[in-house]
Symmetry: C2
Subunit: 203 residues, 2 copies
């Protein structure tokens, strides 16, 4: 039996519980270190429920990628809506650094750290990760575009390239933060991103 889309409230709740439990475990221990028994234990849900709602482990992992993207985007929603002013960008950057400090530089980016684990292993998962990062980057690009329209960025500025460069600084900064267990790494990377963004400021 292939994947079943739950038609009852109970079914939906169970499916959601499974995905949430899996997402938490994956964030804590990595994809490879999480077994379906672990997921069932935390959800809680029995073995057959997992296979009732997901074709196999890979399908569950893809659902986790999507759920993680939703969670990240949702958590940052207010901040992301303000990315059309210098102050808003600064607030976002500061919040990102503060979050890493709070988490003691553990875990890196919930989406980005899945990339290294899945990109060369499951093409569909890679696409899902790309989608999550893309949605994130789009929010920034939209903000920068609005800034250009309002004359805060120079007419020659390229919001798409600026957004990509900022995402790279963010992901790279998070990777260094995670590896070195030092939130300062992200701060330095984002300070550099600030310089790049300001270099496109209207004169």
């Amino acid at each position: 039996m292939a994947t079943v889309i739950p038609s009852t409230a109970k079914g939906r709740a169970t499916r959601e519980r499974i995905v949430r439990a899996a997402a938490e475990l994956v964030a804590e221990h990595g994809v490879a270190a999480v077994s379906l028994d672990d997921v069932g234990g935390r959800a809680p849900a029995s073995r057959s429920q997992l296979y009732h709602y997901f074709e196999d482990k890979d399908a569950l992992v893809r659902a986790v990628v999507d759920a993680t993207s939703d969670a990240v985007l949702g958590a940052h929603d207010q901040l992301l809506a303000q990315l059309d002013s210098w102050a808003g960008i600064d607030r976002w950057f500061d919040a990102l650094v503060a979050l890493q400090r709070e988490r003691q530089a553990r875990g890196g980016c919930p989406i980005g750290s899945l990339a290294g684990q899945l990109a060369e292993r499951d093409p569909q998962a890679r696409a899902a990760i790309a989608g999550g990062l893309g949605r994130w980057e789009a929010r920034l690009r939209e903000g920068l575009t609005r800034m250009r329209e309002r004359g805060k960025l120079s007419a020659a500025a390229d919001p798409a390239a600026l957004a990509t460069a900022t995402m790279a600084a963010l992901q790279g900064g998070l990777l260094l933060t995670q590896v070195r267990r030092d939130p300062e790494q992200l701060r330095i990377a984002l300070d550099a991103a600030r310089i790049v963004l300001r270099s496109a400021r209207a004169t």
Copy 2:
């Protein structure tokens, strides 16, 4: 029996063959997807040889991290030696982008992509990755320091922070390149790094 350091030429050759085979497989498929049988098959080496030279799989993986660091640093040695001039930095950036194009944007950074797989799983491996990235960053920092001494960077420039920011752009750019299968991502990230570095140019 714990790890044995080979005392004969033959033993050293075998150990080296094992590490190289493991490093190749890990780069191709990721840590979790590589079994010791796979390694033994490619090396070639029998099961007992693996356990003769390495205490367990984790120890082998750590050796792979170190070997990968050595390989990356070694391959880029001439380029890294030139990181004390604007032209040298440009050559290095261009070479990195060209390499990604050649590899069709697959694999990401050999060291960086291990981070997401191991950082939250094996503290010793995390330290080994940090060491590898640190050696890499140090080469850049040294070059930038020489540039400052020669008056090419302003006296107020901070070579350590610039090197960190550049490494973040590189790692982030490689991650986006890998996830999106698009070498342009790295080019955009490194163009941004260029802007940051030039912002510290002596006036």
